[in-house]
Amino acid sequence: MSDDLVVFENVQKFFDDFVAVKAMNFTIGKGEFVAIMGPSGCGKTTTLRMLAGLEAPTSGEIRLDGQVMNDVKPHERDTPMVWQSLALFPFLTARENVEFGLKMRGVGKADRKERALEWLEKLGIAEFANRNVATLSGGQKQRVALARSLVMKPQILLLDEPLSALDAHLVIRMQAVLTQLQRELGITFVYVTHSQSEAFAMADRVVIMSKGEIAQIGTPKDIYRAPATRFVAEFVGRNNILSGKVNALEGARAQIVTPSGVFAVEAELSMGQEASFVISADLVHFSLEQPNAENAVLCTLISEEFVGSMVTMFLESGDGQEFKVQMQERELSKFDLKGGDQVWLSWDAQSAHVLEGQ
């Protein structure tokens, strides 16, 4: 596949006895914005570092533009990285920081200066060119770090949780900057983060990792609507996960008996099969009276959580199963609900997504 820039083939990484990455197989295309996401310790940073050459795979192959990179040293690669701690050189000015990579590659003095200033200008920090980086603010330092990597005109840019140290309002702004840059330059971005909102906001494709393995790869929308495993369903978005046993079949539909009730799903299952299904919180309807729907359950309201204009309600059904419902705040405000109130939740059979083999 000549369109692939990066190929991970059966890549494994051990640290003494600890398995950080198990048999990873995936590819990244040219010009793609890929986010690698997962909880702490899932192996995402290790994966990125292997791409940069800072760790060597214990087995397997990593190919960059067709070339096997396993034994290529970090400084011989063209995989500039934006670090979580920024790692700016404190004894240099902003411009000198940006010039650093060019200097290492042997670019002439005048040439480097020109290119560095060009990039500082592009990112809106040209006025700080001759200031020592220690005197800059968090957001300004972030831009210097970006410029430092991009001035090298690389095919691929690696980013290791670059926004995690910024204030919330700066994060939103930087996300826009990054997305725009990526579109403009057409460079492949590989972005590691633990934040779902960052990954889903910016990436073309998301790789979700857990305990050293890939749990799912897909577009944000696919992952959101069709999580592949229980882990992904729990990790991403607000999802309701129910488990039970199939007790009836009807063509392309099945009926599953769960502790909370009997529900219908649209999936090809077999009799007696153990199955789990996921209903996204924003696909659940609620009403005060029992609705005329095939999937319904009576729940008690436990709490509400407001984030801007959206509200998530946490409820509990008779058997103790937790349910989440997400809706617009203005919708909710039509009702006068308080903790302990009983409401009916319902959803369509086709809203439920069955998890494979769980």
Binding site: K73, P74, M81, S85, F100, M104, N132, A134
Partner: protein, 265 residues
């Protein structure tokens, strides 16, 4: 509460007395270096710079001073280099026997100087390297390298954990990174280490005395004068030595601390 105030006042006076005790001999030396009397006592004699004139006109003293200068400069360079190598190795690498490795550089200060002096004398004599200025330089660099190592190691702790890797990532080989990143970053600590080791070497007399043979350094010259009889020249020399060591230490402190105020990196 009243008792506490008396206690407080008493403590302050006491502390002042302790400081007075510690600094008395230094001040005494400086004051009496300008005193005309041969035997320093009170009441004071006249103000006089004859002792300074005397030492400045003494070729032996000049030679000893020059020797001290050569020894401390060379010691500073060697000790700082050794300290830097060890500090960097400790910072960057994990390897077997790292404990004994670090012990190797950190042990010398725990051994009394008189014992080091004897051991150095015997060994350097055996390998035919005793009695010269370089004998003292060798001994002093062993004694002062730990301080250089400690100073530089502490500075390396302040380095961003990804700084070295960032330089590699941008195309710098290990050697280029050392030259363009590690050394510039450590510059204040390196200067500090140079000053510190020079100052320690400048004052050291026990090992110098044993090992130097006829090539005296200033402290050894002082030792010999003092062994003779009461000679106020010693005060003049002592004041000089004090001023030089003091300047070195202040410069070292400025480089170590001054940077911290300028940037928080």
């Amino acid at each position: 509460m009243k008792g506490s105030r008396y206690l407080d006042g008493g403590l302050r006076v006491y502390t002042a007395l302790i400081f007075a005790f510690i600094f008395a001999p230094i001040l005494f030396s400086v004051v009496f270096s300008f005193n005309s009397q041969r035997f320093p006592t009170i009441p004071l004699g006249e103000f006089s710079t004859e002792w300074y004139a005397k030492i400045l006109n003494d070729p032996d003293i000049w030679e000893a001073a020059l020797n001290s200068l050569i020894v401390s400069t060379c010691t500073a360079l060697i000790a700082t280099f050794l300290g830097f190598c060890t500090a960097y190795s400790d910072y960057r690498y994990r390897f077997r026997f790292k404990g004994p490795y670090l012990a190797l550089i950190l042990l010398p200060p725990t051994i009394p100087l008189i014992i080091m002096a004897l051991a150095m004398l015997a060994w350097l004599s055996k390998i035919g390297m005793s009695g010269q200025l370089y004998s003292i330089i060798i001994a002093h660099s062993v004694l002062t390298a730990p301080f250089a190592m400690a100073v530089i190691r502490l500075r390396l702790n302040q380095m961003d954990e990804n700084l070295e890797a960032a330089a590699w990532n941008l195309g710098g080989s290990e050697w280029a990174t050392m030259r363009h990143v590690i050394v510039p970053f450590c510059k204040p600590a390196i200067i500090s280490a140079l000053c510190l080791t020079a100052a320690v070497s400048f004052d050291e007399f026990a090992v110098s005395w044993f090992v130097s043979g006829l090539n005296k350094t200033l402290p050894v010259a002082i030792l010999e004068i003092v062994q003779g009889n009461i000679d106020p020249q010693v005060n003049a020399i002592g004041t000089f030595v004090f001023l030089i060591s003091m300047s070195l230490i202040i410069v070292a402190q400025v480089f170590l601390v001054g940077r911290k105020i300028k940037s928080s990196d």
